[in-house]
């Protein structure tokens, strides 16, 4: 049983190919101006890596904010369901899955079967997603990938009073003027985003095990800040940014099976 999961996010597109629920290949690319074309290339890339053709796919499922643009998709699934499926597949004890992407953040509460019980979403405010870190890194003149390691060097917590990207930029500039070190400012930035995400999770109740996925989960600085805020150890899988695509591909498998019956 060969299936594909395609996650068409606001910033990047992720594709996962599965054979009997085991990952054969992964492919990622920027959404750019033409997400449909980008997704096509990502799917072809993933198939090529797995030595497969489009006709080998039994079923493919699309998810993500541009899911309706996905090429060759047999069906779609909500990002929440894809997250729940992937989180409980990777960590069977997972009861809460947090997904922090470029422009959205979600938290899903689920039961032991991976069925969603409740959720919270932020999709209206850049201060509650990866876009916040990107904008603050620009203000701080630090490369995005250096922000996390830099923040871990902070010796103490300083704080920015920002729950808005626009005001956050001014806060970062005033900290620079106060001669605060870049490490401390980087930590303050991660703490500010973690505060937002933590308050979202707390609306569901903090139910361990808690899994963190999405592109921002690759950032060690954010993972450290969020663990501190929630006072729990967060489970972060390998390839956390592919969780949505993995969930979609797993759902594709079960849909293909039920279609066969």
């Amino acid at each position: 049983m060969i299936t594909a999961g395609m996650d068409l996010g606001t910033q990047t597109i992720k594709v996962v190919i599965l054979k009997d629920n085991v990952v054969l290949s992964r492919e990622r690319c920027f959404s750019g101006f033409d997400p449909a074309e980008a997704a096509k290339q990502a799917l072809n890339g993933a198939l090529k890596e797995a030595n497969l053709n489009l006709t080998d796919l039994h079923h493919s499922v699309a998810t993500g904010s541009n899911m309706e643009l996905a090429p060759h998709a047999n069906s779609t699934v909500s990002m929440l369901s894809a997250d729940a499926k992937a989180g409980t597949h990777l960590f069977p004890e997972a009861r809460t899955i947090i997904d922090v992407g470029a422009e959205e953040a979600r938290a899903v509460k689920c039961d032991e079967k991976g069925i969603m019980l409740d959720f919270v979403v932020n999709e209206r405010c850049a201060a509650g997603a990866g876009a916040f870190i990107e904008a603050m890194a620009r203000a701080l003149e630090v490369k995005l990938e250096e922000m996390g390691p830099l923040s871990l060097k902070a010796e103490r917590a300083s704080s920015i009073n920002a729950s808005c990207v626009i005001f956050g930029e001014s806060d970062v500039v005033s900290l620079i003027h106060q001669r605060e070190s870049k490490a401390e400012i980087a930590r303050a930035i991660f703490d500010a985003l973690a505060e937002r995400i933590a308050s979202m999770v707390q609306m569901l109740g903090v139910n361990p095990d808690i899994v963190l996925v999405g592109g921002v989960a690759k950032d060690v600085g954010f993972v450290a800040s969020l663990s501190r805020k929630l006072s729990v150890k967060l489970l972060v899988p390998d390839y956390p940014d592919f969780a949505g695509a993995l969930g979609a591909a797993l759902i594709a498998s079960s849909r293909a099976r039920s279609l066969q019956k």
Binding site: R124, A126, S163, C164, V165, I166, F167, S174, H177
Partner: protein, 307 residues
């Protein structure tokens, strides 16, 4: 009105608005008068007003710098300019606004909500029931009674959507001087649909996309301004719309916002005073309110001291 030109720089700063001060001619003062001041240190602008026996005499408006005490001094200095008054002539000073605890010359600090309510009552009279104060970093909808007392309020803070700061971001993005964005946003044949998300960071990305699609600057600004106006109208709805409605704060001068709030609510605001000529300035409402509180506090202290 004296206008102070922005310092000339190599880069045009579209967000930068002109600082100014004004003395109402025909009014004067003697040492027997109760002369009070209100200093409103906002996040984006600082305003000061001087009142003689509870009547507005002069005011000054300046950009808030990195240091609240300096901004307060600068605003008060502008208000004193051309009046012949010294700080020592002021019997009582009330500080208000975001930086109110950092107004060094103030005898007392009072919240900007109370001051805007009082100031709106002073500018437009006792028929005002709803005050929308659109400031640099937050938006407040305030229900007031016939005496200008606060009955209830709602605020949206820590989000730049619709605030003066958000407008400055768009002025910079579209390269339109911030003082002209209201007029410019109305130069569209047909009102476009609002941008889909009010978050200024996302709206900025969306606006860049619309410009690439070939939308004119005017159309993009109209779409953004409309989204912001709808947001403010919703805040008023949540508080409950009760006439008469007035708008204070820097955005009261943004005709694009005012027109669209009126359209969204289906209600006209009370007419804007001609602040460029001889009328009272709605951006200074908080400082007017503060100066009126200063007068009341001064008179109370005289009674207590038997004066």
């Amino acid at each position: 009105m004296t206008e102070i030109d922005a310092p000339s720089g190599e880069k045009i700063e579209f967000w930068r608005w002109r600082e100014y001060h004004r003395v109402l001619t025909g009014n004067g003062w003697t040492s027997k008068d109760t002369i009070t001041a209100g200093v409103d240190v906002g996040s984006v602008s600082s305003k000061a007003s001087i009142m003689v026996n509870g009547q507005a005499y002069s005011w000054g408006v300046t950009r808030t710098g990195s240091n609240s005490p300096d901004s307060a001094k600068k605003a008060l200095g502008l208000a004193l300019d051309g009046t012949g008054l010294q700080v020592s002539d002021l019997k009582y000073i009330v500080g208000t606004g975001y930086g109110r605890v950092n107004v060094p010359m103030a005898n007392k600090a009072i919240t900007e909500i109370a001051c805007h309510a009082k100031g709106a009552n002073y500018i437009w009279g006792s028929s005002v029931r709803t005050v929308l104060d659109v400031g640099g970093q937050d938006i407040k909808a305030i229900r007031v009674d016939e005496a200008g007392r606060v009955v209830s309020f709602l605020m949206n803070d820590k989000c730049a959507a619709g605030t003066g700061r958000g407008m400055e971001v768009f002025a910079d993005l579209l390269k339109i001087p911030v003082e002209e964005i209201g007029e410019t946003s109305l130069k569209v044949v047909e009102e476009p649909p609002p941008v889909s998300c009010t978050c200024v960071a996302f709206a900025k990305t969306e606006a860049i996309g619309l410009l690439r699609k070939g939308w004119s600057k005017e159309k993009v600004l109209a779409a953004y301004t409309r989204a912001m106006a709808v947001r403010m109208a919703n805040l008023i709805y949540s508080l409950g719309l009760e006439k008469e409605l007035v708008i204070t704060g820097g955005q009261s001068k943004n005709i694009g916002i005012v027109t669209r709030i009126e359209a969204a609510l289906g209600v006209k605001c009370l007419p804007m005073p001609n602040w460029k000529d001889h009328g009272l300035d709605p951006m200074v409402a908080g400082a007017f309110g503060a100066a009126l509180f200063a007068k009341a506090l001064y008179e109370k202290s005289r009674k207590i001291n038997g004066g």
